[in-house]
């Protein structure tokens, strides 16, 4: 848009203080955390003596953090697969012009409006080994002894206790991918599908050869957004399970909170938070660059 030089200067002047505050609170604070992560501040009183990478070294050699990283990877993997596949499936059902579509959509999406705290309280009871879903199975006459989120059983590094958390998180976020896919499906020109049908293509063929390739970019966006949510996960695990026996349901976000605000290990907590930031940045930065570049062209 055309804009007088003077106007542009005013705009920048208005923008500047707001950006300054934001950048201090984001980048200034990140730098500050980074600085703390290299110190020996591991008690109530700040101690800014530099110890190099000691906090990081200690973290990577600690069993708790190793478990956390493993849990994050498995959780992200299952969470993504369930949300992408399930979300596409649901959106496809809605796309097929079912009656009561708006009712169905409302139901699929409502968990998104809830807090992770509410979800956590709710699902903690549902999966509570003695009283929850197990007792429902027992009422139906099955023997049910699975410990859910208290189980310490592990298959190839995957702590099965995570299943309860994965189900709860997917319950909440399936609607999100559903909404994204539905928007994408609605954007596909009807003629494209109609002409394929005239050519005699069946529903499966149309889905496979026409729809799926067209919604690929959406799948990618959904993966990025959900992926970064699961890398940061804290609220749900904190409320629903805590770190669990032998850390079966522990995550870096939880470890950071506990070691910082319970154990007063500030430097260690800062180091964890920096690692989390790097993980998220690896996912988000390339995505941001590519979308914003595409935007301006």
């Amino acid at each position: 848009m055309y804009c007088a030089k003077k106007d542009r200067r005013i705009a920048v002047l208005i923008l500047l203080p707001m950006l300054l505050v934001l950048f201090i609170f984001v980048y200034g604070f990140i730098a500050w955390s980074l600085r703390i992560s290299f110190t020996d501040w591991n008690s109530i009183l700040p101690n800014m003596t530099s110890v190099g990478f000691e906090n990081y070294q200690r973290l990577f050699s600690s069993q708790r953090f190793q478990t956390d990283i493993r849990n994050t990877i498995f959780f992200t993997l299952f969470f993504l697969v369930i949300c992408i596949v399930g979300g596409f499936f649901l959106s496809y059902l809605l796309y097929s012009k079912l009656r009561g579509e708006s009712f169905l959509r409302t139901i699929y999406l409502f968990p998104l409006s809830l807090s992770f705290v509410v979800t956590g309280v709710l699902w903690r009871w549902i999966f509570s080994p003695e009283v929850g879903i197990n007792s429902l199975f027992r009422m139906m006459g099955f023997e049910a002894t699975f410990g859910w989120f208290t189980s310490t059983y592990s298959i190839g590094g995957f702590n099965v206790a995570l299943i309860a958390l994965i189900i709860a998180a997917s319950w909440q976020y399936l609607g999100y991918t559903m909404a994204m896919f539905l928007a994408g499906l609605r954007g596909i020109p009807d003629q494209l599908i109609e002409s394929a049908q005239i050519d005699g293509a069946g529903e499966l063929a149309i889905t496979w050869y026409i729809i799926l390739p067209l919604i690929k970019p959406i799948t990618f966006s959904a993966m990025i957004v959900l992926g970064h949510i699961s890398l940061k996960i804290f609220d749900l695990a904190y409320v629903m399970t805590g770190k669990g026996p032998a850390f079966v349901t522990d995550f870096p976000g939880l470890f950071m909170f506990e070691t910082t605000f319970r154990g007063n290990h500030y430097a260690e907590g800062a180091a964890i938070s920096i690692i989390m930031l790097i993980l998220v940045a690896v996912v988000i930065v390339p995505y941001l660059i590519s979308t914003l570049r595409g935007d301006s062209e």
């Binding site: 008690s43 009183l45 003695e130 002894t145 208290t150 669990g244 605000f261």
Partner: protein, 422 residues
């Protein structure tokens, strides 16, 4: 349209200023209040605290008590809240803290507390407390907190009904324990109830098992960093602990410590090792001693008393310092302690408690406290500093699951190397 938006923003700004104004003024508005911070939210603990509040209100009717409690077993949540508040320069007037290293290493050394020796001296209470208790609450010659009670950690609660059914006696030694445990196990009953959804409950059990193997002197030396963790007796303690895990309830990881104590009174499990606040819990639930539950010192520890004490201190810059001093004086007084302890299920830290107010269990505990060897509790912050304890709890969390004694010893030793006093 524009007008409406402007009105909206104006309302927002007004609301904000109101909140800001409120935020800065609450310290002044609450001048005749007293904020007591604790993690006593339920059962005998909450009732006992209430009894003390009533005594306080009787003596000082004009002062309003703000009962700031944060839930979460053994105060893990509360301690986090407290730490952030203290660092934030927003201390409560007084807070519950375990006497010993938790108080001293965390709060006194870092300069957050005012000494309270004068409270005891002004009231003439200095000689009413046993010397070893005064030692525990003191740092460099000054008292820093007022202990309201004494708890015992090494108590084994058992179900008399279950023991009678199989014609068994409560175990006195670790060997006894495994013998009776085997009988219960063979009959499909969990011998030992454990509720370690908060892992400190496992650490609590561990300290008793270690004491059973090492005796009090080596026990103390271990926590002073003067005994290695690969010591033969310490190792056999860890072996026994691992063996004990073969007799526990399946749902232990989902259970809170009080639920596990409840299992014993309900006859769902034979034994449980928990501090004697369990007695307060049993009373509040209407369970009867001798019928639903009874106790012995944990196997192998009779003649020893692992103690912990809840105490209250005076943070620097407490908003209502005068009221805190009144509160602390009450905490140190016979009336205060005799109001609180019979209900909480603990014994007074004073030597002159009114015995008639205490039940059968507590009278026995008072006898033991007067005659036994006293050692501080690890799991409750009396024997070691908070960071060390945090690390031990982390190690326990894995040890309870994998029962790998060698690995645990290596890690316990690494923690001791890092955190033990040098």
């Amino acid at each position: 349209m524009k007008k409406r938006i402007m009105v909206g923003l104006l309302v927002a700004l007004m609301a904000t200023t109101m909140i800001f104004a409120q935020g800065t003024s609450d310290a002044k508005a609450e001048s005749n209040t007293l904020e007591i911070f604790s993690w006593w939210t339920a059962g005998g603990e909450a009732d006992g605290l209430e009894a003390m509040y009533n005594e306080f209100h009787r003596q000082y009717p004009g002062i309003e008590i703000i009962n700031a409690t944060v839930a979460g077993g053994a105060g893990t949540n509360a301690k986090a809240v407290l730490a952030t508040r203290m660092q934030g320069g927003n201390p409560p007037d007084s807070f519950q803290v375990h006497a010993g290293h938790e108080l001293i290493d965390t709060w006194v050394v870092s300069g957050f507390m005012e000494p309270v020796t004068f409270v005891l001296e002004d009231a003439g209470y200095m000689d009413k407390f046993p010397e070893d208790v005064i030692d525990i609450i003191s740092y460099e010659g000054e008292v820093y907190s007022i202990p309201v009670n004494i708890h015992r950690s090494n108590v084994m609660w058992y179900s008399p009904k279950l023991f009678a059914r199989f014609n068994l006696q409560p175990p006195k030694t670790m060997a006894d324990f495994f013998r009776v445990a085997e009988v219960f196990k063979a009959n499909g009953i969990p011998a030992l109830a454990l509720g370690d959804n908060e892992i400190w409950a496992a650490t609590h059990l561990l300290e008793s098992v270690i004491l059973a193997h090492t005796g009090p002197d080596k026990y103390n030396a271990l926590w002073e960093g003067n005994v290695m963790w690969n010591d033969a007796q310490v190792r056999s303690a860890l072996n026994d602990f691992a063996k004990m895990m073969g007799y526990i309830n399946r749902d232990h990881a989902a259970l809170a410590n009080m639920d596990a104590a409840g299992y014993v009174a309900e006859g769902k499990a034979a034994m449980n090792v928990m501090g004697d606040w369990a007695a307060g819990y049993y009373y509040s639930q209407g369970f009867k001693q001798g019928e639903d539950w009874d106790w012995v010192p944990t196997p192998g520890t009779s003649g020893n008393f692992i103690m912990l004490s809840d105490s209250f201190g005076l943070p620097k810059n407490a908003p209502n310092r005068d009221n805190v001093i009144k509160w602390l004086t009450l905490c140190a007084s016979k009336e205060g302690q005799d109001a609180f302890n019979p209900i909480k299920g603990s014994i007074p830290s004073r030597i002159d408690g009114d015995r008639s107010k205490y039940d059968r269990y507590l009278n026995a505990a008072m006898d033991d406290f007067a005659s036994n060897a006293i050692v501080p509790s690890v799991a409750h912050g009396a024997a070691i500093s908070e960071p060390w304890l945090t690390r031990i709890n982390d190690i326990m969390s894995v040890f309870v699951t994998d029962l790998n004694v060698d690995k645990a010893i290596t890690e316990f030793q690494a923690a001791a190397d890092r955190y033990a006093p040098k």
